[in-house]
């Protein structure tokens, strides 16, 4: 069993504190993605799990064993680095077999393990090449091969796809997910890209400024963000947020007099005069006749389109509500001219309310 547990883990660099007491439990075989903007402490956390950074406080255990003071080589982990960190003076074969030859495994065993890894990742034809003779995607695969050869308890990925071009990134993303399905190990994966987080993770850990903001499945984070940071970080395009004030208990008055009813999830939890952010995703604001037919409370808004971004199956429409630019989605799109006025349906059941002072979600 190789669950990973972090309890109250702290990292300090001199006076600066980079990670503020993180608690996290990762189950055996789980694919967990640490995501957040740069400088949020996600890489530092990963490097502490790997043993590449000292732990200033708290405790990390892997498979029930506290590893705080163990060097990386005794943690039975493997890591894929952003710049691959392949050994440039060794061939692909030597790169793959390096960890086993360090462990003084018999040659036959090394060979069969290397062959197996090469097969999984389709590296058979590249075995005698040096890293300099490989393309970015091939290097990435060798780095992954080097990680799986040893059958580690835990895989650590540190932004492994950020050096690849967009097309290759999508392709490698699928390969990583397939790899996880094949080998079934616990994976901890760091990225700043929320799309990678959404597509790969069993569970996402969203971090900011050395704190964990929210932990949950991709859909939990998408549908029930705990605050405006999560709401705007997860999902593309980011959630639309409009400033407003609660009038009575049932109505939110947006900046220039437009008012919308308080969404059912927040009813009874807001007070008269409370300043709030009213939030909804582009998917929940659609022009009439180009929306999904769904039951539920709706509000109609007449808005003029300022900009369009056709994406093929849908078109993103930019418009303004109460002086704030918002994005809406148009299904089965038809050409829309800037300035055109359309009637939009706002799905009130899917809207969110956040307290303006704390930016926390108000939700029952």
């Amino acid at each position: 069993m190789t669950e990973v547990t972090l309890s109250n883990v702290v990292k300090r660099y001199g006076k600066h504190q980079a990670v503020h007491g993180i608690d996290l439990g990762i189950a055996d075989g789980e694919f967990v993605v640490l995501v957040g903007p740069s400088g949020c402490g996600k890489s530092t956390t990963l490097r502490m799990i790997a043993g590449l950074e000292d732990i200033s406080g708290g405790e990390i255990s892997i498979g029930g064993r506290v590893v705080n003071d163990l060097p990386p080589r005794e943690r039975n982990i493997s890591m894929v680095f952003q710049n691959y960190a392949l050994y440039p003076h060794m061939t692909v074969r030597e790169n793959l077999g390096f960890s086993l030859s360090i462990a003084k495994k018999p040659v036959a065993e090394i060979e069969s393990a290397v062959r197996q890894a090469a097969e999984i990742l389709g590296l058979d034809e590249l075995m005698e090449r040096k890293p300099a003779e490989l393309s970015g995607g091939q290097r990435q695969r060798v780095a992954m091969g080097r990680a799986i050869v040893r059958h580690p308890d835990v895989f650590l990925f540190d932004e492994p796809l950020s050096n690849l071009d967009a097309k290759l990134r999508t392709q490698m993303r699928v390969e990583i997910k397939k790899l996880h399905q094949k080998v079934g190990n616990t994976i901890i994966y760091v990225t700043h890209d929320q799309v990678e987080a959404m597509t790969l993770a069993d569970r996402i850990v969203l971090m900011r400024d050395g704190h964990i903001v929210q932990v949950g499945t991709p859909l939990e984070l998408f549908n029930k963000p705990v605050d405006t940071f999560v709401a705007t970080f997860i999902g593309s395009p980011p959630m639309n947020l409009i400033n407003g004030t609660v009038m009575g208990a049932e109505v939110i008055q947006l900046a220039d007099g437009v008012s919308v009813p308080v969404p059912s999830s927040a009813r009874g939890l807001v007070t008269d005069g409370q300043k709030v952010h009213f939030g909804f995703r582009a998917d929940n604001l659609m022009p009439e006749g180009h929306s999904v037919q769904e039951e539920g409370e709706k509000a109609s808004l007449d808005l003029s389109v300022t900009l369009t971004e056709p994406l093929g199956t849908e078109t993103l429409l930019f418009t303004e509500i109460a002086g704030t630019e918002v994005q809406a989605k148009m299904l089965n799109p038809r050409p829309v001219r800037p300035g055109e006025k359309l009637t939009f349906q706002l799905m009130l059941d899917k809207c969110h309310v956040f307290d303006a002072a704390s930016s926390n979600a108000i939700r029952s």
């Binding site: 043993g51 060097p71 890591m79 960190a85 050994y87």
Partner: protein, 287 residues
């Protein structure tokens, strides 16, 4: 058409100028060396002739004399050569070991006063070696290592270490630190990670540092001339002085010994040339 033609002419002319300038520069660099080699094979009369003799005759007289007995103008070439080899090789090895460790430490670790140490080392190099020869002479004489290989080796190690540190620091700095981290995760301790991964990657850099250190020791004259006296410790550059008498200089003999000095250095440089060039254009290495 016309414009293209004139453009092409201009380009051709620039190229010609370029080659001419290159030729001039290379001549200035190479002619003294050529002069030494040629004169080592010419009779003394021809070397001293005024006006110069343009069609040289060939003789091995200087080499014969040099390897001959003391009365025939011979010098203990083999002793000098042996001394030079011992002093240069040993001092280079020690300087590389110390310098590489230092360079690695500067490149990889953070410690108090790092920048200060580094500048200090470089300042140390700014002191001309000769200026230290008198204090060194006195100290060495007291300790009793004057006129020994050990004394000279110590002096050369001190001379070469700062430069080696500076050079290897640069090479290790260019190796991404993820490389040794990956090695550590793959099961190495720090020591193994260095020898199995970082050292092989920086090998060409270390090789170029070594050749610089070796050539410095091999060619050094000023300190060696002060710190060595006898056949047992004199190196080849100092041995050249054997050809100067009170009123005369045996140019032919001096050139012959100089050729013997140049040859091993040339051979060594050719042998590690590949590494040297790779070392000086190190940026190509990427994980």
């Amino acid at each position: 058409m016309d414009r293209n033609q004139s453009h092409r002419n201009r380009k051709r002319m620039l190229k010609a100028l370029h080659f001419a300038a290159l030729f001039m520069t290379m001549s200035i660099i190479c002619i003294p060396g050529l002069w030494i080699v040629l004169n080592s094979f010419r009779p003394t009369v021809e070397i001293m002739a005024k006006p110069p003799v343009w069609t040289p005759s060939f003789t091995l007289e200087h080499y014969r004399a040099m390897f001959g007995g003391a009365g025939e103008g011979g010098v203990p070439v083999f002793s000098y050569f042996r001394n030079s080899i011992i002093v240069s090789v040993v001092s280079t090895l020690i300087a590389i070991l110390i310098g590489m460790s230092g360079g690695y430490a500067f490149a990889r670790y953070r410690f108090k006063g790092k920048a200060g140490y580094f500048v200090g080392l470089m300042l140390f190099r700014a002191v001309p070696g000769v200026a230290l020869s008198l204090p060194l002479f006195i100290v060495f004489a007291r300790v009793g290592i004057i006129d020994t290989h050990l004394g000279l080796i110590l002096a050369y190690v001190a001379m070469n270490v700062p430069f080696t540190i500076w050079l290897t620091d640069g090479f290790f700095r260019q190796i991404p630190k993820e490389l040794h981290e990956a090695a550590e995760i793959d099961g190495c301790n720090r020591w193994q990670a260095f020898w199995r991964v970082e050292f092989p990657v920086a090998r060409s850099g270390v090789a170029s540092a070594a050749i610089f250190a070796f050539l410095t020791s091999w060619n050094e004259f000023a300190l060696a001339s002060q710190l060595t006296r006898s056949v047992g410790s004199k190196t080849m550059p100092v041995g050249l002085l054997d050809f100067t008498a009170e009123f005369t200089i045996n140019w032919g003999g001096m050139c012959a010994l100089a050729v013997l000095m140049i040859v091993p250095a040339l051979i060594l440089t050719f042998l590690v040339q590949k590494h040297l060039i790779a070392g000086l254009t190190f940026g190509g290495v990427k994980g």
